[in-house]
C-alpha cells in the first residue's frame, strides 16, 4: 500500500537523520524525510499542508540548518559515538513492540464520527482561524526580533561580565576568567575572537 510505504519511508529517513554522524548528510536526510511527509499529505488529500511542508520544512529549515552548520564548522567538531548504532536498534525494537501492543488494544475502540463539510480552505483560514493568523504574525515578529537581538552589532557588555565572574560557578575558574576577560575589553571582544582564528571568514 502506498500509504504504508510512505509512512515507513518517513520513519526510515528520520532514523537516518538521527543516526548519521556527519551533520550535513543528516540535514539532507531530514529534508528527504520532509519530502516523504509532504507526499503523504498529498496522498491524504491535504494539499495545502503538503505544499507548505515541502516549501518551508524541506526548503527553508534545511537551508537554515545548512547555514548554521557552515557557520559553526571547523572548530572542534563533535562527532557522536558509534555506540548509538548498537543501542538504537534495541531501543527502536522496544518502542515498536510497545507501540504495536497499545495500538492493537485501541483497535475498534475509537468511535467513528465524521464532521459535516466545512468551507473551502480559504474560507476556513481567513474567516474561522483569523486569531491563528494574528498569532502567526506574532510568532514571525518574535523570531525575527530574536535573531536580530542575538546578532546585533554591539559592545560586549563590560559591566555585565563581572557579576558572573563573582557568582559561584561549579565549572571551575578558568572558563569564567576567560569570559570575564573578554568582557572587560568591550570593544576588542569581537576582534579578539576573530584574531584567534586564522580562518576568520567562517564567523562572518
Amino acid at each position: 500500500m502506498l500509504h504504508l510505504s510512505l509512512l515507513i519511508g518517513l520513519v526510515a529517513f528520520s532514523i537516518l537523520a538521527v543516526l548519521i554522524r556527519d551533520l550535513l548528510k543528516s540535514a539532507i536526510s531530514l529534508a528527504v524525510a520532509s519530502v516523504f511527509l509532504a507526499v503523504l499529505f498529498f496522498e491524504m488529500n491535504a494539499v495545502y499542508a503538503g505544499v507548505f511542508e515541502v516549501s518551508v520544512v524541506a526548503g527553508l529549515i534545511t537551508v537554515l540548518f545548512i547555514t548554521a552548520i557552515a557557520l559553526t564548522r571547523g572548530d572542534g567538531d563533535v562527532v557522536e559515538s558509534r555506540r548509538h548504532l548498537a543501542v538504537f536498534p534495541l531501543f527502536f525494537l522496544a518502542l515498536a513492540v510497545i507501540d504495536i501492543l497499545v495500538m492493537k488494544r485501541l483497535l475498534g475502540r475509537i468511535p467513528a464520527m465524521v464532521n459535516p463539510e466545512s468551507g473551502t480552505f480559504a474560507d476556513v483560514l481567513w474567516n474561522q482561524r483569523t486569531f491563528d493568523l494574528v498569532g502567526q504574525i506574532g510568532a514571525i515578529f518574535a523570531g525575527v526580533l530574536a535573531v536580530l537581538a542575538l546578532f546585533r552589532r554591539g559592545e560586549k557588555d563590560a559591566g555585565h561580565e563581572s557579576p558572573r565572574g563573582d557568582a559561584p560557578l561549579a565549572g571551575g575558574q578558568p572558563p569564567a576568567g576567560d569570559a570575564a576577560l573578554m568582557g572587560r575589553q568591550p570593544h576588542t571582544g569581537d576582534a579578539a575572537l576573530m584574531g584567534r582564528q586564522p580562518q576568520g571568514g567562517s564567523h562572518e
Binding site: 491535504a46 572548530d75 557522536e80 518502542l95 485501541l106 466545512s118 561549579a170
Partner: protein, 102 residues
C-alpha cells in the same frame, strides 16, 4: 476509517520516540535541533491524520500551517543561540554547557 487513524498514530508514536531518543542521547547541539524537528514532523502528521479521520481536512491544514510557521521561528532562534554559543566555546558539544549547576 478509524483503523487508519490508529495506524497513522502508531507511526506518529515511532517518530516521536525517535526524536526523543535523539534529544536524550546526542551530544551535538545541531543534532538536538534535528531531534526537535523529527518530533515536529510527528506532531504535524498527527494533526493531519486527525483531520483525515474526521473529514475536517481544511481545519487540520490551517493548524498544520500555523504549526510549521511557529516551528520555523523556534528553529531560527535556536540556531541563533547555537551560533552565539559556538562563538564562546568554539564547539557544539552540549557536554561543555555545564557551567550552571547546583
Amino acid at each position: 476509517m478509524n483503523n487508519m487513524w490508529i495506524l497513522n498514530m502508531g507511526f506518529v508514536a515511532l517518530l516521536i520516540g525517535v526524536g526523543l531518543y535523539c534529544l536524550l542521547t546526542m551530544r551535538n547541539a545541531v543534532k538536538l535541533l534535528i531531534g526537535i524537528e523529527v518530533i515536529a514532523k510527528g506532531v504535524t502528521l498527527a494533526l493531519v491524520a486527525g483531520g483525515f479521520a474526521r473529514n475536517s481536512l481544511m481545519l487540520a491544514q490551517c493548524l498544520v500551517i500555523t504549526v510549521i510557521v511557529v516551528d520555523v521561528a523556534v528553529i531560527a532562534t535556536a540556531l541563533a543561540l547555537i551560533i552565539n554559543i559556538n562563538r564562546h566555546t568554539k564547539s557544539l558539544d552540549v557536554r561543555k554547557l555545564t557551567k550552571l549547576k547546583g
